[in-house]
Amino acid sequence: MRAAWRLATSSLWQRRTRSLLLVLVIALSALLVSAVSVAMGSLRAALQGRVTAIVGNADARIQSRGSGKTFDSALLREVRAMPGVMVASPRLESALSLRFGKPVWKKNEGALDETHRLTVEVFQITARVTGVDAEQDAKVRRIKLLSGRNAQADDEIVLDQTLATRLSKENTTVGIGQIGLSLLARGSGEVSRANPGPASVPTAAKADELNAQSTPRPDDWVELVRFGDKARRLTVVGIAEPPPLGGAPWGYMTIQGLEKAAKLSGGLTRIDLVLDPESGITPLQFVDTITPRLPETALAQTSEKITSGFDKGAQANELGFLLGNLMAFLAAGFIIMTGLSVGITERQRELAMLRCIGASRWQLAISQLFAGGILGILGSAIGIPLGVAAAVAMLTHYEDRLMASPVVLWDRVAIASCGAIFAGLVGASLPAFQASRVTPLKALAARSVPARPRTIAIITVLGLAGVLIHLSIFTLLTDPDYIFYAYVSLGLPALMIGYFFMGVPAAMIVARVASPLLEVVLALPPKLLSRSVRATPFRFGFTSSAMMAGLALMVAIWTQGAAAMRDWIDRIQFPDGFAAGLAMPPEAEAALRELPFITDTCAISLHPVETEAFGVKGLTRVKTFFVAFDPESFFRMSTITWIQGDEQAARKKLDAGGAVIVAKEFFVARNMGIGGEFVCWDDAGKEHRFEVVGVVSSPGLEVANNFFDVSEDFATEQRVHAVFGSRSDLKAKFGADSIGLIQFSIKPESQSGLSDDASMRQVREKLQPFGLLNAGSGRQIKNTIMGFMETTLKITSAIAIFAMLVACFGVANLVIAGVHARRYEFGVLRALGASNHMLTRLILAEALIITITACVLGTLMGLQGAFGGIRLNANIWGIDMRLQPPLFAIALGWLFVAFMCIAAATPTAIALGRQRPRELLSAR
């Protein structure tokens, strides 16, 4: 072992520059993986925090059915009396419209001096407010207070920081997850603070200082605004920390206080239960016992059922992380393999000498594995701390916006570290084999041996096999779950390995085709370039393969991303506008119709139900929306396309009950069409079956609902697509009938004289007293989603470019190795009369062969990868997308690859041109 170790360190030290480049390849891969792991870990921790905020340490809960509904509070007494119940903490939830008069010091317009006078700006918001029994609630979860105390009296309220901020500045952003819009109310009002401060201040700096303290704080008050009632004051007694990842603004009151404020009485929204562990009663047993005794308006769930969606999501993330880890380090491993293999070829004589003096095959093989391990360890030691530091710095910088602190999961960092070492060892495996195969005699003879056609044929067959395995998964398998697992475990690695091997025949083909032109353009002797490639096809081929991975990633990302935008989001024909709220009363729709530019409205109720139609069994828990509406107005307003069935026949069956119309995605994913059956489960786990009476294109309701995301459950479940049924079924089977969305049509600007933004502002002002959380036009929603997707594409493209940069180091290493191995040959060429510039051009021409091969392979691999992704999307999520190559992204990728390859080769090419013939000839 000592000998193998010494040989390993000696060989790495012998080629320090190249060893350093290989270390950097692994370091950059490790940096990327560790940075992503910190980001994912932080997000997961934030989601976990969110789940904890929802569930606390409750073992089970009793929940009202349907948004905005309550159940009789007498149930609380009954539950407390049940055996095994240690804590039963009640909660009441409602939406309240609150107003705050913010003190603002402003300079009078046109004034000559700097005096800023005290004025007031009134902000109004509809926020979710929870009534809690503070003492009981503290046993389940802790509301973290940033200042002040919990509410004790009926006219006291605690605001979370998000709510406090929204009450001091206008927020009408139509953004993903942006709910709780706050409006600057028109007209005058009074400052909601007993001692706001001086009536005027002499300087802008002093005004800024005072304005910075204008957000609501303990001892301020807010006004409760109710439609048809006089405004009432609520004293702010505390400011609470918002849950991780922000979300909706929240307020907290006593239960009695909220009952008075929301004009509710005798009802509860939830009871959180902590069971006595010594009672022997499990949460499931408790739920089974209590369920028959619950009224229609309530259901019981274990906390595990609630968090299982999050746990499954975390599992899926873990799988994604491991897969990403594997792919990144596999790519790095291939680069290491090619680099070390070239080193073996160069050191044939040295290796032969070692065999002559008694080195065993095993010792030479182990020395290569040691070399790979050293590269992996060094790469890991450099890359991982940098990756972690970079991610922590970025997350800390954006902590306020993300409302998530950086979290380093050391087990994932350890996995990344192992991955780096794995890359080195995998990369060293082929060179180890090659070194062990060195026969002393053949190596001492040092004859140039051409690559055997049989070996190239085997490599080509292996490459094609990998490519075909990836494709065959979709033709041979039909079950979506099998397809997913086969794709992840076999298809993707086969695709990568297959294309890596295909680099060899591809380089030879490209050399044959492109060399004549390149030789003319770069004034090289005929056949020199093509023979050079033919003599060492593996070096050229694997170098090209190393370069192609980043381009393939970019092509796949853009192909799929563009397809998602073009064939999914862009195809959705949104109505003119949506208003999202929490259990909006029917009066809200009537109020909306009063606006002169509104031409039509439709109130919509949505309720998430569990389905197995999408996702991967064992990995995801997916819900879909059961949507109910007034059919007359809905079908009049919506521009949906009937894939199967027609409106008339479908409406008859909907009215009769027990029937649904499904979105097209159900048809794509599960071939669910007319006459088929839609099966779903409600929150209590009860199964419901519906006959499918139509298949329609998506009208975007679930997209809009997810866009505004009124639910706190986004951390624990995925909700996709929709089925459309009757109101009676929604109420009878799921106990839900509250209005969560109102879609509306507006007159065009040419008729109304109002811009989109102006119309939306009026809608918001009109509906805010009715529990509106946000409103936006269909165009705004679509544009925002498209913008978000484009940003995501750009960010993921950065990852692809980073991957190309990693490969660039590998290419540089291989170019240096290739030049070094042929120094004597170059010396002979110079001795025969070749100019130094010709050698430089030859190296650059070889780099161009590598570029072209990498571009062709990378594009093909990217498109094939995108094809796989699109098929997988169709199978799992039912989203039907077309494969269309993104020409601009491909062209940009090609340019980048060319730039990287030429940049990697240029320093070596120039250095070679500077060497004298004697120096080159003495290399033998």
Partner: protein, 251 residues
């Protein structure tokens, strides 16, 4: 008892679509230690013969027996593993190209066989120091090969080959990369080593001047043992004349 005995050695190599015979029934017998040369024109089979003696290759036919430290040993049918281990301590090989590892010091290069054998570092160091002292390169112990002259590098290679005092030292054109003065010194050194350490040193060469330092010259021609030249009383010119006569007779 014969020190080294080769009988009816045959070896052919595949080349393109045919088989090229390199040795066609070579017999070689050496009874006592000393400095011997194998001479012949290019393609006569001398390197092939050396490779077979070094257990780097196996004959197609024939036998090779060496009186090793552990008794007589057949070299023609060793397994690869046996041959590898045998070469560590029983055969020393000196190459034309020196073949030193450039990132190891001169002393570390000398110790390489011991490193491969997992020998005790302290003992190894002592042995290599003594050898380097003996060969007059002790003062270059810490230098890397690129800081040594050609002659010094070849001495390092010889020291490496002598680390375990093998009964057989094979040198394949060891002065091919040296100037004439350095070459002469090296041949004298090899003769001295053979004499003082009682080793069998067998050198492949095409230079008659080298052969003059040897006690016997084996002449190969067309894969066969043509003749043996006893060099006692002959100088380089004499050996060259005798060799030319032998070659001319054939032609």
């Amino acid at each position: 008892m014969l020190l080294l005995s080769c009988s009816n050695l045959h070896k052919a190599y595949p080349l393109a679509n045919r088989s090229v015979p390199a040795l066609r029934g070579v017999d070689l017998c050496i009874e006592k230690p000393g400095f011997y040369a194998i001479m012949g024109a290019s393609g006569s089979g001398k390197s092939t013969l050396l490779h077979l003696l070094a257990t780097l290759d196996r004959p197609d036919q024939g036998t090779i027996t060496l009186a090793s430290k552990d008794g007589p040993r057949s070299l023609h049918n060793l397994s690869e593993r046996e041959a590898t281990i045998f070469r560590r301590k029983q055969i020393g090989i000196v190459f034309q190209q020196f073949n030193l590892i450039p990132t190891l010091t001169a002393q570390e290069n000398v110790e390489l066989p011991g490193l491969l054998d997992g020998d005790d570092p302290t003992k190894l160091r002592a042995r290599s120091s003594a050898l380097m002292e003996q060969l007059g390169i002790a003062q270059r112990a810490t230098h890397r090969p690129d800081a040594l002259s050609g002659g010094e590098q070849q001495r390092v290679a010889i020291a490496r080959a002598l680390l375990y005092s093998p009964p057989l030292l094979l040198a394949d054109e060891p002065t091919g990369n040296l100037d004439s003065a350095s070459s002469a010194k090296l041949w004298a050194l090899l003769a001295e080593i053979a004499r003082e350490q009682n080793l069998l040193v067998l050198m492949v060469t095409h230079e008659p001047a080298a052969a003059a330092f040897c006690s016997r010259v084996f002449v190969l021609q067309d894969g066969r043992m043509k003749a043996t030249i006893e060099t006692e009383g002959l100088d380089a010119g004499g050996v060259a004349t005798r060799y030319q006569q032998l070659v001319a007779t054939t032609n």
